[in-house]
C-alpha cells in the first residue's frame, strides 16, 4: 500500500521534472504529492532521499538523482553521429588483465642464463610464472634440476618427462628423481625504456 503510494509519488515527481526541466519547490510539492502540510512533504522527501531516488543539494532543495528516464550522454556529436568511443571503453582490459589470468597465483621472475635463448627469452627478461597450472607438453616451465632452478621446455614423451633447453649448448635432461616445478611461464616482458 505504502509502496504503491511511494511509486506513484515518484512517478509524479518525475513527471514534474520532465515537464518543467527542474525539481519542484517545497510549496509546489504540496500539489505534486497532494499533501496539506509541508511537514509531510519534508518527511516524504527524506524518505525518497534515503531510498536514493532523489538527492538534496546544499541548500536542502531536491535534485534528481535517479530519475527513471535518464538521458544518455554519448560525448560530442560530429556530423550528426554520436561518438561511440566512450561507450566502447567498458569492453577494454588492462595490460595486467591481458597477461594474467589468476592474479593470486602469478609471480615475476627475472631471467638469468641463456638456456631459453632460442625461444626468445633473454637474460634480464621478466617472465610471468603461474603456479597453479599443470604443465603440458611444450610449456616453458620453471624447474629445479640438481638443486638448480632453470627455465626449460617441458616435454612428455610416452609418459616420460624430459626438460629441454632452447639452446644447443645444453643437452636435454631426463630427471631421475622427483622433479620440482615452481610454475609455468605464461608471458615474457622485456622493457626497453
Amino acid at each position: 500500500m505504502d509502496r504503491n503510494n511511494l511509486k506513484e509519488q515518484t512517478v509524479r515527481l518525475e513527471e514534474f521534472y520532465l515537464k518543467n526541466k527542474r525539481m519542484p519547490s517545497y510549496s509546489e510539492m504540496l500539489k505534486v504529492f497532494r499533501f496539506r502540510s509541508k511537514n509531510a512533504v519534508f518527511k516524504k522527501v527524506n524518505q525518497l532521499v534515503k531510498l536514493g531516488l532523489f538527492a538534496k543539494d546544499k541548500t536542502g532543495r531536491l535534485i534528481p538523482a535517479g530519475v527513471q528516464r535518464p538521458v544518455r550522454l554519448l560525448g560530442f556529436i560530429q556530423a550528426g553521429f554520436p561518438s561511440p568511443a566512450e561507450e566502447e571503453t567498458v569492453d577494454l582490459m588492462s595490460l595486467d588483465e591481458y597477461l594474467i589470468s589468476n592474479p593470486q597465483a602469478t609471480y615475476l621472475l627475472k631471467v638469468s642464463g641463456d638456456s631459453m635463448l632460442d625461444a626468445g627469452i633473454h637474460p634480464g627478461d621478466l617472465v610471468l610464472v603461474q603456479k597453479d597450472l599443470t604443465p603440458k607438453n611444450g610449456d616453458i616451465v620453471v624447474a629445479c634440476v640438481d638443486k638448480e632452478w632453470t627455465l626449460k621446455y617441458f616435454e612428455k614423451l610416452k609418459g616420460k618427462v624430459r626438460l629441454r633447453a632452447a639452446n644447443k649448448k645444453y643437452l636435454p635432461i631426463e630427471p631421475k628423481e622427483e622433479l620440482v616445478i615452481a610454475g609455468v611461464v605464461i608471458a615474457n616482458v622485456r622493457k626497453y625504456k
Binding site: 609471480y107 638469468s112 603456479k131
Partner: protein, 440 residues
C-alpha cells in the same frame, strides 16, 4: 541391551554441522613468505627482523631450535650461529596476505580478515554447491593456498569461531582438524581452558577454583553459572563452545583508515630526555616527508614511547585543521612527549602515527588563523623538501632533533631485498605489485 549414559559421554549436540565455520591460520607467516619467494631458504632456520635487532618472525626450523619471536638477534645467534637473518619485507607480506584472503573468497564470500595472517570463513550451505563435505571444502581451500602461494596454513573447522580457532592450533604446522558437533563432548574434555581465545590467565585461575580445568568442565556447568561467574563474555563463550555460533563471521571491511607511521629503535636504549625527544622529532619529520610526498595532509598525531621492557605508552593529539607542515605539529608533539615521558625510565624506541589523513587539504584554514602564515609554512616545507632531496634526507631538520648524527637512514644491509633488487622502471619508492621470485 541396556544403555548407560554417564555425564562424560553425554553428547553436547547430535548434529554434525548445523553451521560450519573455519579458521585459517598461516604457519610462521612472515618466514613462510620469505621461503616461498626464495626456495633456497626452505627447510632452513631463518628469522626476520634484521632491521630492528629483534626477531619478528621465526621459521618452524628456527622455532625447533628454540629461537622465538621477541628475542634479540645476538641471543638467537648464540643458540644457532648458522641462523639466516633477513630484514623484514612488509610489502611482500602484505601482498601474500591480500592474495590469501582473495583465494578464500573464491570459495565463500563470507570471509573475515581477522589479522594479516588469519581468516575466519563461514562455509554453511556450501556443501551442495561443491558437492562435498565441509571437511573436504576446507581441505580444498588449504590446498589452493599451498599451490598458489606456496605457503602452508593450519585449518580448524567447527561450529563456531571460538571452536574453529581451538582446532586450527591442533596440528600446526600444515594441520587440519575438523570438529563436528557430535564429537564436542569427546574432544573438549582434553582441551585446557587456556586454549580458548578469550580466557586469560586470571579467568583460568578463577575457574580452577571451581574445579573447572577443561573446556568440557566449563560447558557442563549450567548457563547461569557461566553468566554469574564471568558475565556476558562468559555466557557468550559458553554458547560458542557448545557449538552455538554467537560471534558472526563479519565481512565488514575493516575500515582501512589511512595512516602514516614512523618508528625507530635506537641503540643503546636511553633515559636521556633530550635524546629521546630528538629521536621522536626525527620520526615526526620522516612521517611528514612521506605525507607530503603523497600530497596528503593530516590532523591527528599519536606519539608513543617504548621502554626497554617493550611496554609502550602513547597519547593522541589533534590540531584544528588538516596540515602537511611539520611545524604545525611540533608543539603538540613536544607537549604529548612531556606528558608521556617518565624521568628515570629507559626507552628503546619512539614512534609517531599520523591519522585522519586526506588528500590535498593544504588550503584549509581556521577562521582565527593567519592564512599568510599558513602559506609561509607550506613554502618552508616545500623548500626543506627540495634541499633535502638534493643534499640528503634530514640535511635541514628541526633543531630538537639536532643531536642525532645525520646518517644514511637505511643501512644497505638492513633493506628488504626487493628495495635493492629494482627492476627496470622501478624506483626505491614504487615497485611492481607482484612478488618477484628469487630463484637465480
Amino acid at each position: 541391551m541396556s544403555v548407560s549414559i554417564n555425564s562424560t559421554t553425554d553428547f553436547i549436540t547430535f548434529s554434525s554441522y548445523p553451521q560450519a565455520i573455519a579458521h585459517i591460520d598461516c604457519d610462521a607467516f612472515f618466514a613462510s613468505c620469505e621461503q616461498a619467494r626464495d626456495p633456497y631458504l626452505k627447510g632452513k632456520p631463518l628469522v626476520t627482523g634484521q632491521e630492528r635487532g629483534i626477531i619478528s618472525a621465526a621459521s618452524y626450523e628456527a622455532k625447533a631450535l628454540g629461537i622465538k619471536r621477541g628475542i634479540t638477534l645476538s641471543e638467537a645467534k648464540k643458540i644457532y650461529p648458522g641462523l639466516i637473518i633477513i630484514p623484514s619485507d612488509y610489502e611482500l607480506y602484505s601482498i601474500y596476505s591480500e592474495r590469501l584472503f582473495n583465494i578464500i573468497r573464491r570459495f565463500t564470500p563470507q570471509v573475515e580478515e581477522y589479522s594479516i595472517d588469519e581468516a575466519f570463513c563461514d562455509l554453511s550451505g556450501l556443501r551442495r554447491m561443491y558437492r562435498s563435505s565441509y571437511p573436504d571444502i576446507s581441505v580444498r581451500i588449504k590446498e589452493a593456498i599451498r599451490k598458489e602461494l606456496d605457503i602452508t596454513v593450519s585449518v580448524g573447522l567447527s561450529l563456531s569461531k571460538t571452536l574453529a580457532k581451538i582446532c586450527s592450533r591442533e596440528n600446526k604446522p600444515d594441520g587440519f582438524k575438523a570438529l563436528p558437533g557430535n564429537e564436542l563432548h569427546d574432544y573438549l574434555k582434553n582441551i585446557p581452558l587456556e586454549r580458548v581465545c578469550g580466557f586469560g590467565p586470571n579467568t583460568v585461575a578463577l575457574l580452577g577454583k571451581y574445579g573447572i580445568n577443561s573446556v568440557l568442565d566449563y560447558i557442563r556447568r549450567p548457563k547461569e553459572f557461566a553468566q554469574k561467574i564471568l558475565g556476558k563474555i562468559g555466557l557468550e563463550l559458553w554458547l560458542e563452545l557448545r557449538g552455538v555460533s554467537v560471534y558472526p563471521v563479519s565481512t565488514d571491511k575493516k575500515e582501512k583508515y589511512l595512516s602514516i607511521s614512523k618508528t625507530k629503535t635506537f641503540m643503546p636504549a636511553s633515559g636521556n630526555k633530550q635524546l629521546v625527544m630528538a629521536q621522536l622529532m626525527r620520526n615526526l619529520e620522516s612521517a611528514f616527508i612521506k605525507l607530503r610526498r603523497h600530497s596528503l595532509s593530516a590532523r591527528n598525531l599519536t606519539v608513543y614511547l617504548k621502554k626497554v621492557d617493550f611496554s609502550a605508552e602513547g597519547m593522541q593529539g589533534r590540531i584544528n585543521r588538516h596540515s602537511s607542515s611539520t611545524l604545525d605539529f611540533t608543539s603538540i608533539c613536544s607537549r604529548i612527549f612531556d606528558e608521556v615521558f617518565q624521568p628515570g625510565a629507559v626507552y628503546r624506541a619512539t614512534g609517531v602515527i599520523l591519522s585522519d589523513i586526506k588528500e590535498g587539504g593544504f588550503d584549509e584554514h581556521d577562521l582565527f588563523e593567519d592564512p599568510v602564515k599558513i602559506e609561509q609554512l607550506q613554502r618552508v616545507s616545500a623548500a626543506v623538501d627540495e634541499i633535502n632531496q638534493a643534499f640528503g634526507k634530514h640535511t635541514i631538520h628541526i633543531a630538537a632533533s639536532n643531536i642525532i648524527a645525520k646518517k644514511a637512514s637505511h643501512p644497505r644491509n638492513n633493506l628488504a631485498w626487493r628495495k635493492i633488487e629494482l627492476l627496470k622502471g622501478e624506483t626505491f619508492r614504487r615497485r611492481l605489485n607482484i612478488p618477484l621470485l628469487k630463484l637465480f
